[in-house]
């Protein structure tokens, strides 16, 4: 089961619902929405599997449909790892 974790050189601050992140490698700064902020906050200490994340965060999503929520979570994880914020190791 692959685990999701925060990339080492990333630091972040929660500002209300949102979150700002600084990437030490590239020097980029990103503003992220509440779902991204929640994901980052959950994995900051320890890597978590997607299933565990789903269980923690499913209530934050607007939809009740599990499939939709899973898809949405996948998209967030993909986006955040392409930005260099999350690791998705095996």
């Amino acid at each position: 089961m692959s685990k999701i974790s925060l990339v080492d050189s990333v630091i972040f601050r929660l500002l209300g619902d949102e979150c700002v992140t600084y990437l030490g490698n590239s020097g980029d700064t990103h503003l992220l929405d509440s779902i991204s902020a929640a994901i980052i906050n959950e994995v900051k200490e320890n890597p978590l599997s997607k299933d565990v994340l789903f269980n923690i965060l499913s209530e934050s999503f607007e939809s009740d449909d599990e499939t939709e929520i899973n898809l949405c979570l996948d998209r967030y994880i993909l986006e955040l790892s392409s930005l260099g914020i999350l690791n998705t190791e095996n």
């Binding site: 630091i11 601050r13 500002l15 209300g16 619902d17 949102e18 979150c19 700002v20 600084y22 030490g24 020097g27 700064t29 503003l31 992220l32």
Partner: protein, 287 residues
């Protein structure tokens, strides 16, 4: 001034040398209340404003800005000598002061609370800043917020406020107590004059003043004065866009800016009437 007038603006120590009458007059009118600095004190910036060459004193006269023997700019027309000092000093500070996170903004203070007004030139921040200063706010700067990366404190560098074109008339009508330097015409930014800083702004700053509000001003003709709350995240990104050196400071810049934003309420302000904008800001109230 030919051999170097040594004075301080806030905590910045400057030595200015010039024989150009317009520069001397600029200082006599606008800097007469500033404290001088001893011969044995550290000077941060040695500045010279001189004609670039013998011929250029007479043929299409020009003026050159020199920072300790280095000229970062092309010469400007002679008539712009005083403006060149102010612009040049802005350059000196923003290029050589990375012990601060610097935001392109006006910044004022009242009752221990600091208000930051970020914005590029032309958005109305200097005009609004001038109006606030005429309404009891202390001027920290009309051009940049300096945030120490060591302790997060905001440093005041209160200098004459630069006002352009219509803003000049507006502020002249706003208050009767203001002194202006000579109007400088035909600059790249139009007609400019510098407003003298009230003496109250030059007296000792409140040591524990902290920023409590960030307001992004937009002058919009024929509109209603309107404050709109902005999320701290959005304000954070807009502050980066208005920063001179956030990228250069890397992780430190991120951490310093985070601490500032965490403690501030943030707003967009669109306004047409200066009076309404000022009273709206006064009414936003203590935190």
């Amino acid at each position: 001034m030919a051999n170097g007038l040594r004075f301080k603006v806030g905590d910045v120590h400057i030595s200015i040398s010039s024989t150009i009458p317009e520069v001397v007059e600029h200082f006599e009118v606008l800097y007469c209340s500033y404290e001088l600095v001893d011969e044995s004190d550290f000077i941060d910036f040695y500045i010279q404003i001189l004609a670039p060459s013998f011929f250029r004193r007479f043929i299409r006269p020009q003026v050159n800005f020199s920072f300790d023997g280095f000229s970062p700019f092309k010469p400007l027309p002679y008539s712009q000598a005083a403006a060149m000092f102010e612009w040049g000093l802005n350059w000196c500070i923003t290029t050589h002061s990375h012990q601060y996170l610097m935001i392109h903004s006006s910044v004022v203070e009242k009752n221990g609370e600091i208000l930051i007004l970020p914005g590029a030139s032309g958005k109305g921040k200097s005009t609004l800043c001038a109006a606030l200063v005429c309404s009891g706010w202390r001027l920290y700067s009309d051009e940049m917020t300096l945030i120490s990366i060591e302790n997060g404190k905001i440093f005041a560098v209160p200098r004459p406020i630069s006002l352009k074109n219509q803003s000049l008339n507006i502020i002249q009508n706003f208050s009767n107590d203001i002194i202006f330097g000579s109007t400088i015409t035909n600059t790249a930014k139009g007609d400019i004059a510098f407003m003298k800083v009230p003496e109250q702004s030059l007296e000792g700053v409140v040591d524990d003043a902290i920023p409590s509000k960030i307001i992004f001003p937009f002058y919009k003709g024929q509109s209603v004065t309107h404050f709109q709350t902005v999320s701290k995240g959005t304000a954070f990104m807009q502050m980066i866009e208005n920063s001179f050196n956030y990228n250069a400071l890397g992780k430190t810049g991120f951490e310093v800016l985070s601490k500032i934003i965490e403690n501030c309420d943030c707003f967009n302000l669109s306004y047409d009437s200066l009076e309404e904008a000022v009273s709206g800001i006064n009414r936003l109230g203590k935190k």
